[in-house]
Symmetry: C3
């Protein structure tokens, strides 16, 4: 028996699947919903860490960055909150015209946008969270409030692509944690991020707090779009995050392979355009898997100047597909990993004349 | 016991492995040969779906594309058929000089080329299927016949890279299925695909019918090669599809990691060239895994202008390795994922003076 | 019972995890430490294979390459040896400030550098092995000695990127094995590799002997850095190999996800720089998995001229991140595959003013 257990452990170790999560000072297996509950309980107990400097940089202070001449501060009010979430609101897959019979609703964690001063919500909590837009030379000033009254854990916003001082990194680092790396439930913090010339593009942001892996698995991610100054916005622009909602966090009996928190065509975003429009899809991996992004009936130039119709990318790596629309029809877009595609990672792209 | 089963399900859900397949209106697990048999039985019963338009584009009709001025229609006759297939015809691995003792033959599905009007077969069914070649400005006119008398399922041809109207997409879409998305056993259909300037390159085609995932796992894939008008063909040109033939479809006791339907050196293609020749390998992933393509003794420029000798790529994403040959010898080519390489995904490249 | 076993086999076959290893003439499962012991025993018995030519190239002989005019022969003395290895020397993770309680030490295999003529070791055995540097036009002349008295197996050095004749390929090919493809314990062999213009860059080298997959899993890999003639060396240059030390080789009860043979911040390399320095990280995958390389607070140009901060790459595929440093702080670098990051694949990058 002991030997069987040992072999099982060893086989697990070899697995490419999700293995463990870090919850403030402890590593937890990440194979079952029970594992996640134990990590949640540990994460709930994490207090703001006491700073224990080890290196000269740990005690340095940094000024808050200001916009470049001609740039502005783009302010956003964003709240993290639990949200009862249904990955398949229609209960059906329109691609295969099939019923999705499983238990689906679960407690997600999501970012939600508010008007100035957190006066009023703008829409509901969303997966991915609100798109934060700016131009090169601007700062993104993001007022973040943690309203996680359900899991009761500290959360953050960690951005990719932009420049930030350690205080605005948004990463929990135990004894090295800076101001923005631990925002407890009920607290607010304002992040300031610089949009450098090299920041032009589309980038993820996500929770990087003491239970970040599990929070991201629950939906705590979004996108930044930074444009060159005066750059034209595409006529149709769609961020698509490819990620799994797994049984560990949903307690469903199978995985939902999602675009933007929804699985199966008719639930994932139905994107619409017309011939002649400048259309851009920005796809990135929001989980720990590798994906591809394929759009039927279309091809586009990648950064290297080659035509592609199905590029691959890793976790939190963004690819952009942009073209001038010329092909009318009902098209599938999907991840070409068959096991993802068949578990919901597909959607409609409808082009009218 | 119930708890154990549940935990098992949950662990499965977390797995990166093949998880489920869609067979016309149902999702099936894809873990065992029995699962596949149940999906096959369901797929056999799928009737041509009745159109249920939902959006204006669903009722539009589209003219069949014609070649551009100066272009031609390149006609092919391609049949889909079951084929008794041996992934290791020699029964040996020449790299490690070892016997491959397992049961190997299984019922594959493959594309097979015919002469005009399906008069006579050109060679046998092959994995990958026939290479379809054209130039920019041409149309590819592919007469497709479904001769799947064994599994009795509808099949299609879905191309990447080229342009097509919804009728020639070759995708089963249940109530939104167009003409080319459901070719029942015994039926014929002619696809017409446009070779745009952006179509220049090498692209996959594959079944995208009601049981597409399983059909592709059985071998229903091939390649298009579209060249710029008048572009020189390489002296040596080899398409290599990296894919697993898994126990679910082979009923063997282990996976065969293949190049072109064959596993282990001496079975996978032995490619030959001479010094001074213009050599091109076109590699793509034909399953749901990620791979790399490494050739010993060689390096080449990627699309970004960097030298590489082992690029990675995802499912149905193509990389081309092209160089002027300058290095005599017996060289290994292989996927650098060790578990793929060691289960057969390797072959010989022989260069003579 | 038999059916259960069969189903288990089939499920295994579908797994993306490590599946089998080749040990000179036999394939072994690679799921447990016992499997590895059996492969080790078989590999220990492999004798230098007798040449059985099959093709004209198999009997050709090749001159040893010389440096180009203006180039030089860069000589290295490298020994392969067993090394008792601790993936977490501090016993702690500094990121999460947590204790790593597991049994950790195991018998690794590593490359170790010596002074001329193997007179004296230069540092200890290391994972990755010594960096071998040269310029375009040079030859790398690597005197290799196999001191594997523990596992008693033949080993080699197989380089990427550079040019070599079949004798210097360093690959075991059973009956086609060339001089450098089987260096038995106690033996020495001198490899000569040419640094072509297309070799400029950073490339892996690794064991490709009769038990190569398992030897690489134990640490037998390193890097070549080839620069254009006279090219400036970065002020800070760090090779980072992303790889798992798995229970099959460590007999620990879980996997260690490593940078350079060490897991968890404070054990993985702590890289230091100052503002204004030219900083380069060269990251590659040393196992069979796919990874990304993310550095907080930074972004850089990829080969295609796009700004990235988290590129993905496959096994033995190298990405370089290079920038002029401008951002003071304690930064995390890590793989963005969460299950890797959380099992140790993270480290510190400290920038001072």
């Amino acid at each position: 028996m002991r030997d069987i257990q040992r072999r099982q452990f060893i086989a697990d170790g070899a697995s490419a699947a999700l293995l463990c999560a870090l919850a403030g000072g402890h590593a937890f297996p990440f194979k079952t919903a029970s594992d996640v509950k134990r990590a949640d309980a540990a994460a709930r107990k994490v207090k703001r860490p006491k700073a224990v400097p080890k290196d000269p940089v740990d005690t340095m202070s940094f000024p808050t960055p200001q916009p470049q001449p001609g740039g502005v501060a783009r302010e956003y009010w964003i709240q993290a909150r639990p949200a009862r979430w249904d990955p398949v609101p229609t209960g059906r897959d329109e691609w295969m015209n099939m019923h999705i019979p499983r238990r689906r609703k679960f407690m997600a964690l999501a970012y939600q946008q508010y008007t100035s001063g957190f006066a009023e919500p703008i829409g509901g909590p969303s997966i991915p969270g609100p798109i934060l837009e700016a131009e090169v030379g601007d700062t993104l000033v993001v007022h973040f409030r943690n309203d996680d009254h359900h899991f009761g854990q500290a959360h953050t916003m960690h951005p990719h692509g932009v420049r930030y001082t350690p205080d605005y990194d948004g990463s929990y680092l135990s004894s090295f944690t800076r101001a923005g790396g631990f925002i407890a439930p009920g607290e607010e913090f304002t992040y300031t991020w610089e949009c450098l010339p090299g920041s032009a593009g589309v980038w993820p942001y996500h929770d990087h707090g003491p239970n970040g892996t599990i929070s991201v698995a629950r939906g705590m991610f979004g996108a930044l779009i930074i444009r060159d100054k005066g750059a034209k916005k595409p006529d149709v622009e769609q961020v698509l995050v490819l990620h799994a909602l797994t049984p560990q966090v949903t307690e469903a009996d199978a995985v939902f392979q999602c675009f933007n928190g929804r699985a199966f065509a008719g639930n994932t975003p139905t994107v619409r355009s017309r011939v002649g429009q400048d259309v851009a899809f920005h796809a990135y991996g929001g989980d720990g898997m590798f994906h591809t992004f394929h759009v039927h009936g279309h091809r586009w130039l990648n950064d290297a100047g080659a035509h592609v119709d199905n590029p691959s990318f890793g976790p939190h790596e963004v690819v952009t597909a942009r073209w001038t629309e010329d092909n009318v029809g009902r098209w599938l877009y999907h991840c070409h990993v068959f096991s993802h595609q068949d578990a919901g990672m597909a959607g409609w792209y409808l082009v009218e004349p």
